[in-house]
Amino acid sequence: MRPPDFEFRSAGTVEEAIAALGGEDGTTALAGGQSLIPMMRFRVIRPSVVVDIGRIEGLGSIGSTDGLLEVGALVTTARLARSATVRSLSPLWAETASAIADPLVRNLGTVGGNLAHADPLNDLPAALVAARGHVIVVGPSGTRTVSSDDLFVGPFETSLRRGELITGIRLPRGSGGAYEKMKRAAADYGVAAVAVQLAMDEGGRVTRAGIAVTGGADVAARAAEAEDLLVGSDPRPSTIARAASATAASALMVTDDRGGARYKRELVKTLARRAIERAARRGDGT
């Protein structure tokens, strides 16, 4: 490993981490290291100080209160994928976690790191947006809660302020979720993915809808028009098809070596249709 020179610090507590992260310019937090370390090796980023937050206790729990699923920032994506609590309270999140990269990455990558990195190809941001979840952020001026819509500013950019650290997430529970991801190969980044979270009434009508796209130019673009189309509807194939088209229209897909924009838009439409269908089937059960 040949990164540029950097200083390494290890934080034992959230307070120590915040103090360190609020220090000199170019300070960054290291959790699972599955994105940070490769980027440092490629010298794409050159942090002056790396603060290891991986040893902080108390950020690794999974629990639920008041209909909310609470996941600590240091929970690995592998644990997220196999947690019985997550599977039962948010199939969307369990499914998304198991779609991340490969087992080696999932064993080390963390929930907080996946979100904070704000890579448009990372999976958890779309799952957070679709589920209308929140992140809990601790910083020099205390603790605040940031909604998913306010967290992602742009590619690799969040609204976290200097010295702030994501310590956990809170998600509304709901069975009506699904994540459809298209990967070219098992260990490849996805080409695109669609996260869907639906809540339905006893008559099978959609009462709430969350849809977000992975793999576009923006991080976890919310498909608001598609959500509006679904809310109040009985999700029949024709409605789902319209919502899928609206999802594809809402995300800016760009041509790169994974495919042309035209292909990716059609792919998003297909993935959206499949995800909405599955989410509706699951949502029906609650």
Binding site: R2, P4, A186, A187, V191, G259, R262, Y263, L267, T270
Partner: protein, 771 residues
């Protein structure tokens, strides 16, 4: 029970799988300095200036060399395959010709300091027009890769054999397609690595090199630097994959050697993966305009292909002869009496192409098997039927191809029949019809292969190289305990040839497999060697071990004869003992003979002491292996994703020395074929950059992408003492066309034409949804 054919565990595995492997980077020598290269970011540019002042002042830096300053004192690198190699030096002097070409080198106390210092360099380039497309390179107004040559065309080979014009004139059907095989990377698990250790006081130089052919490269190294081979030692320790990419001394490796000689200190360089994608050789990259002439019954009358081979900017070891292999193998196992094959080889502003597992023959197999599949479609013949009508039948053997290759063994129709049976061809067809009604698209594809291999008998037309022994050597030395060490000229990179060689020797010496140690990859201890490539390990190296072992037994027989006071011709060697024929009580064991051969306690000086022998085996001819593959795929018409549901490989590799190893070789070859068919591509954008230069973009199939495999074999021993055929490259030939044919079959209702690989989801989708 003989060792040959036994499913013995590989000698190599326990050590390598438990972390005991020793690769070049694991070797440490005191006072080593570490190299880092500055490389061209442009496909074609003048190097205006290289300022290394800040570099030289950076912490830990020992020296820094730029091409403009140093090229004049560096040797020119000739091609081992052609006299008209474009001149190049280890660091380029004034102009760069591909992205990744080394322009300066930094040497520092550790690798990270070298990299940190290299970032301080100030290099100015004057970009020049570049050419990336091989057809465009042939046009008169194309930018010239090497202006002094006046053309980008390297040469042309045109073979018109039989009566192709007549055949096309009288043909009932002519099928024409343009087919391309993309540029791929060998992607060895261990990138390139070198440690050059000079001994200034004596003029000796030891080079630890991750390579496939240390003796060949020693000769080349001596030639390039004007050094005595007797003072050069090349050692290939464990090598983590080569696939043809490590049959070279690259410019950066030669720069490392030059610097070691210049500074008089050991210099180490270990390539990064990113460098391997641009500065390591590429492969394939051919475009064929192919035509088949057929009669009304589907019998092929002639094959025509006028094709271009994009060789990149320079000649590496084999570069200019790699596409030549495609020409003579284009008729495969089929009886095609007339051919018109023209190859144009061109320079472009890309890294060189080189040999890569299946080189030349994989391209030929893809073109031939795609063409036959397309002919079947146009003539409305079943793909099995058209192949059966055209395969060389057993009663046609020996069969001479239009190119003068003689096939003597095998049953090609039987291999195809077995593959068809194992894939459940008829039931797949029935299922296909049913699933299409439900909007699911499965397809079945076939392909056969003929692997020309075992390169190459000395003086044979297939051996155009200057320093390229077609023979192989083995020295077997038996110790006083009767255990043997074999010094093999092979240079495996994971093939398991130590095990193969030991199995051959065990049967001859009649000693346990575990009593044999095999040493390879060191020019100081091994008599000579051609190395490991071209499916030659068992075919050539195996026979060297066989003959050496037979010679050791003859020597042991003389010792036994002296011990038993009998004539050597009366001594019978069986069950590990030497016995006088007809006198069972007059017997000595192998161990007693080995002891006596060294210490002469019983007989005194009745024979020359010692128990060892060396053999050089020069094969009388090239070797062929053959087989048939079948693939069943499902294509998701909405996402374009191809999933291989089942893959069948039926192979004739002659006598299998170790079933696990031959199956593993075929398995691995198929994995590379799956990569070529569906995933891998070295891509260049319009600016000549290589966006595929990381595994985030360059897709390599993993275990997750491997389909369920059904493997079977039909053995026809070759006309060699061991009866073996080559196997190392077998899996790479028919798997890409079998998969591509299956995709074409699956998408037949959409009228989609499959004329190139890799068939990645976006590519398949674009074919189905043209703008």
């Amino acid at each position: 029970m003989t060792a040959i054919g036994a499913p013995l565990p590989r000698k190599e595995d326990a050590r390598i799988l438990s972390g005991g492997g020793r690769y070049v980077d694991d070797i440490t020598v005191p006072h080593t300095v570490h190299a880092c290269f500055l490389r061209s970011p442009f496909p074609h540019a003048d190097v205006s200036s290289v300022d290394l002042e800040q570099v030289r002042r950076a912490p830990g830096v020992v020296a820094a060399y730029s091409g403009p300053e140093s090229a004049g004192s560096m040797p020119l690198i000739p091609s081992a395959a052609a006299d008209d190699s474009p001149p190049r030096t280890p660091l380029t002097g004034d102009r760069v010709h591909y992205v990744g070409e080394p322009v300066a080198m930094v040497l520092a106390a550790d690798p990270r300091s070298a990299l940190n210092a290299a970032e301080q360099a100030d290099v100015d380039y004057g970009p020049l027009p570049h050419v990336l497309d091989p057809w465009e390179a042939l046009s008169p107004d194309a930018p010239l890769v090497h202006p002094d040559r006046g053309t980008n065309k390297i040469g042309e080979i045109h073979k018109v054999l039989g009566d192709p014009d007549g055949a096309f004139a009288r043909a009932d059907h002519v099928v024409s397609r343009q087919l391309a095989v993309q540029r791929i990377s060998a992607s060895p698990m261990e990138p390139r690595a070198i440690l050059a250790v000079p001994e200034p006081a004596t003029g000796h130089l030891t080079v630890w090199l991750s390579c496939q052919a240390p003796h060949t490269l020693r000769t080349w190294l001596g030639h390039i630097f004007g050094l005595d081979e007797s003072k050069l030692r090349i050692v290939a320790p464990d090598v983590g994959g080569g696939f043809g990419s490590k049959l070279n001394l690259y410019s950066d490796e030669l720069a490392v050697i030059w610097a070691a000689l210049e500074l008089g200190v050991p210099v180490k360089w270990v390539e990064t993966r990113t460098e391997n994608f641009t500065a390591g050789v590429h492969a394939r990259d051919q475009i064929h305009n192919a035509e088949l002439a057929l009669d009304a019954g589907g019998k092929i009358l002639a094959l025509r292909s006028h094709f271009v081979g994009d060789l990149g900017a320079y000649f590496h070891f084999f570069t200019p002869v790699v596409p030549d292999l495609t020409i003579d193998t284009l008729t495969g196992n089929y009886d095609i009496p007339s051919v018109d094959i023209k190859l144009e080889k061109v320079f472009t502003n890309k890294m060189s192409i080189e040999a890569l597992r299946g080189s030349g023959r994989a391209e030929a197999t893809f073109v031939l098997e795609r063409m036959i599949e397309e002919a079947a479609r146009e003539l409305d013949l079943d793909p099995v039927e058209i192949r059966t009508r055209n395969l060389v039948a057993p009663d046609q053997l020996p069969y001479e191809t239009p190119f003068g290759l003689t096939y003597t063994g095998g049953d090609y129709p039987a291999l195809l029949r077995r593959a068809v049976e194992l894939v459940g061809y008829d039931s797949v067809r029935a299922r296909q019809a049913e699933e299409r009604r439900q909007g699911r698209y499965i397809g079945v594809g076939l392909a056969t292969y003929n692997l020309l291999c075992g390169f190459s008998p000395s003086g044979h037309a297939w051996n155009p190289m200057k320093f390229f022994p077609g023979h192989e050597s083995t020295l077997i030395r038996v110790d006083p305990q009767g255990k043997a060490v074999a010094y093999s000229g092979l240079c495996p990179q994971g093939q398991g040839s130590d095990t193969m060689v030991a199995q051959i020797i065990a049967d001859q010496l009649q000693i346990p497999f575990d009593h044999i140690t095999v040493v390879h990859g060191d020019t100081e201890t091994i008599p000579f060697g051609g190395g490991t490539h071209g499916s030659r390990g068992a075919v050539v190296g195996g026979h060297a071990a066989l003959v050496a072992a037979q010679r050791v037994v003859e020597k042991a027989r003389q010792v036994a004869a002296a011990m038993l006071e009998a004539a050597p011709q009366d001594i019978v060697f069986a069950d590990g003992s030497f016995t006088v024929a007809g006198s069972p009580a007059s017997t000595v064991s192998w161990e007693e003979v080995a002891d006596e051969a060294h210490f002469l306690k019983r007989c005194g000086p009745m024979f020359e002491p010692g128990l060892e022998a060396t053999a050089f085996y020069d094969p009388p001819d090239v070797n062929f292996a053959f087989g048939a593959n079948a693939a069943v795929v499902e294509v998701d018409p909405e996402t374009g994703k191809v999933q291989i549901l089942h893959f069948v490989s039926v192979d004739d590799y002659g006598v299998g020395i170790n079933p696990g190893i031959v199956n593993g070789q075929i398995h691995g070859g198929i994995a590379q074929g799956v990569g070529q068919a569906l995933y891998e591509q070295v891509s260049h954008d319009e600016a000549g950059q290589v966006p595929s230069a990381s595994f985030a973009s360059y897709l390599l199939p993993s275990a997750m992408e491997m389909p369920p495999l059904t493997m079977d074999n039909i053995v026809s021993p070759s006309d060699t003492p061991l009866g073996v055929r080559g196997v190392g490259e077998s899996g790479t030939l028919a798997s890409p066309p079998a998969i591509a044919n299956a995709v074409a079959d699956a998408l037949a209702p959409f009228g989609v034409r499959i004329d190139r690989t890799p068939l990645r989801p976006d590519v398949v989708w674009e074919l189905m949804h043209p703008e």
